[in-house]
Symmetry: C2
Subunit: 479 residues, 2 copies
């Protein structure tokens, strides 16, 4: 039985913990910031570095060219996508693994306590940009493969890898590669299931497995009153100002309690079943700790746990993000902006179709605009991706849950997330198989923020957790 | 009589036009951008360069230290203020001249057709940052002084100079220097009147003299919901978002036609007299050209000339400028800002006291906030400066009007401006004398914008116009 391997695997992982940290240190030292053209060479270097690691574990690799993007008004070459294959045994299941090699921008002056691109261990935490999102989890796979080799055990599954370096910047080029190249080439034909490790525990102590993500419908609401910015002293009082119109429209979208004011927006939301309702009561989630961690004065929904979780995961929410084209700097700028673009988004949930939601929003905004009666020009556009959920009772999830219990001595929470990882849906569509989100990091890892970290415990136990592969070994029924 | 000098002065100015352009070219080549710490040395260089020019015309000079400012979180030394004295003849009137040596930022990539810090002549226009605001007008004084010398005529007045290099950044340090140092030292005791050349004609063909400016009351409306920015996927639906509250408050301030919704705000506005009303009908102002120049779809007040001028000059206006702390970049940022600062301002007009207006705004915003009932934290602060008007029938204005008629063969429009130049009021208070705004540039000079220019005609005729000094020579009654 697979479980017999466990003590050996544990021992091997313990013996190699320092080398795992050192490899992560190497990876973090490459500032693969995908949103900034001046780090593009570092992104490419990061892909090459990872390709070598993939080769080191015995995989065959390909660097797939995905063309160009427009960045800061210039045509910039996209980093290649790293595709790998390890094992082709027809008697084994094949798992497709996705991860990303790029990171969010980071400067020490943003408020980091340490150099962001230098991995620093302190109090059991590994601080550094990309430590938890997503370099640590990616390296976890290499460590796990080596651990099987280290204890003299054959890898229980075939693996396929898709590692990109543009995730933090909209995964440009990836969808086309997956759907228009890899799928027609048959890359997904023998894939049995998909595993993505690019999210976090709900809290800081209890592991979880994630079976749902909200989608997103993002809106660009543009109002133009003049072909240039104007001086408020000279022009104030003589023009119909675009900002006045935009602020009016933005004020009509959501109320102070987060209720969305667009008629019909809640109609298609999947009904809450009694069964689902009960799920929320058992989940380990402390509203007061959550409130404290962000310094909020008061949480929505009176801070009731089940309501908070439902509004994070299974109900839509609307957020106003900001305004492009208006004054944003500190100080007392006196501009009357000529053209402003309000940004807001709705997190979509199961059964909300993006096309339906976009139409409701467009109709409502157009109606409010007509009522408002401004002579200015208004235009609204959207970009959307639907929500994703899997069945957490699927054998693939059961294998991951069993491994979690073996490693952490507790059943994982079956959780969803409020955010969106568009590649999840693409991989589900490309493979037609069960997709599992298996988080490595903790809920307080501060991905995308200052002082991003990965707990040493999460890193090491996360490697052990990948032993779930063994539990799927003989499950041909897992399909 | 003074007018007899005119043909000689005209001839001398014509003969020296090329050298005037060359000197302006030198001045524009110094990128004295006051808002950016990395150009601070250039600001200091600009002050020293100008000091030398002042010495060259025979003035005694002082560089006055005005201390430090906080810029981008650092303590940065302010450029010194250049103070000069030319002539102390007790039989002559003494004019105090103010101008500024700093400029707005400018990059070719902002949309300039030429290098912004290289003066380029094209089609009778001198393109370059600072050409019209305010380096051209400042140099005009030196050319005029030299012209008197050139035709062998004694300077008809004593001159005092105050040239600063922080005007585009709030004139930091200047008020204290004027009120707490120069005034107690007696600098203003023998001043008979003050002349400022730092504004523009109303249009592009007819000269004007400016006797009024609106004040400004600038508001910082802060709402905080969390101690950090949050991810809208993870937190959307569980927090009372600061942006929702701020957009609500900002939507309550002004209607689509520009009517300010704050009760009592119009109460103290100086009543419109029949006499004043008639003034607006004769002013040369073409609403359709104005509309076209900014590409507006429709002007406010149905585009009626008199209404437009009144709402630029003698009625308050409220503009929403933008939001600090929210998303402002292109693209689809999904941030839920933790703290946002809405920026808006009200242009103040005669009889509106800043303290009174601030109180009305604070009371209204606090009332709306209480009605709104959000658990978040709200705070509002203000910075204000009152409106300024002079009596355009004052002999000082009559002298300038007579000079304008002699140079341009037309009576100038007596105009106001919608913008604010705070130093105007400080100089009025410090000297207790009549202050005149004598614009050199045209209404389409694009100060603060791309492709700022000064027409060669405005530059050269503007130098001739300073011959108005001779018309004030024997007017001891001008006090
Ligand atoms: Zn990630
Ligand atoms: Zn990320
Ligand atoms: Zn100026
Ligand atoms: Zn200016």
């Amino acid at each position: 039985m697979a479980e017999k391997l466990l003590p050996q695997i544990f021992k091997f992982v313990d013996q190699n913990a320092e080398s795992y940290k050192n490899l992560l240190k190497e990876a973090v030292a490459i500032p693969s910031v995908s949103s900034d053209a001046k780090y593009r060479d570092e992104c490419i270097r990061m892909v090459h570095w990872t390709e070598q690691k993939l080769k080191d574990v015995g995989a065959s690799t390909q660097l797939r060219d995905v063309g160009f993007q427009t960045l800061d008004g210039k045509e910039v070459k996209l980093p290649p996508v790293l595709v790998g294959v390890l094992g082709k045994d027809p008697k084994k299941n094949t798992i497709c693994i996705y991860g990303h090699l790029d990171v969010q921008p980071a400067l020490k002056s943003d408020g980091w306590n340490t150099e962001p691109f230098e991995l620093v261990e302190k109090d059991g935490k590994l601080f550094g940009r990309g430590s938890t999102d997503d370099k640590g989890p990616v390296l976890g796979w290499f460590h796990a493969i080596n651990a099987y080799k280290g204890v003299g055990e054959e890898l229980p599954v075939n693996l396929k890898f898709v590692f990109e370096c543009m995730e933090e910047s909209g995964s440009e080029g990836l969808d086309d590669l997956l759907m228009k190249e890899l799928k027609p080439e048959g890359f997904f034909e023998d894939v049995d299931f998909v595993c993505i490790s690019d999210n976090y525990w709900l809290g800081t102590t209890k592991p979880c497995i994630t079976y749902g993500l909200r989608g997103i419908s993002y809106y660009f609401l543009e109002v133009e009153c003049a072909k240039m910015d104007l001086h408020s002293g000279v022009y104030g009082g003589t023009v119909h100002e675009a900002m006045t119109d935009l602020i009016y429209l933005m004020s009509q979208l959501v109320d102070k309690n987060g209720k969305i004011l667009i008629p019909g927006i809640y109609n298609s939301v999947a009904p809450l079943t009694e069964n689902e309702k009960n799920l929320y009561t058992t989940i380990d989630f402390d509203p007061e700790a959550y409130r404290n961690s962000i310094g909020a004065y008061k949480l929505a929904h009176e801070g009731v746990k089940e309501q908070l979780l439902m509004h994070r995961w299974r109900y839509p929410s609307l957020s106003l993000h900001g305004i492009e084209g208006a004054a944003f700097q500190p100080g007392a700028k006196t501009v009357v902006p000529g053209k402003v673009i309000g940004k807001f988004s709705i997190r979509l949930v199961p059964n909300q179709e993006p096309e339906e939601i976009e139409q409701l929003v467009f109709d409502y905004v157009n109606k409010k605009w007509a009522e408002h009666g401004s002579p200015n020009k208004m235009n609204i556009t959207a970009q959307s991706g639907r929500a994703w959920t899997e069945n957490p009772d699927h054998p693939h999830y059961q294998a991951a849950a069993r491994a979690t219990k073996l490693i952490y001595q507790t059943d994982p929470d079956m959780s969803r997330e409020g955010g969106s990882i568009p590649v999840t849906i693409t991989l589900q569509e490309a493979s037609g198989r069960n997709v599992l989100l298996l988080p490595m990091g903790a809920g307080d890892d501060m991905a995308h923020s200052q002082n991003e970290k990965l707990n040493v415990r999460n890193y090491i136990e996360g490697v052990r957790l990948l032993f779930y592969l063994s539990l799927t070994r003989c499950c041909s029924w897992i399909r």
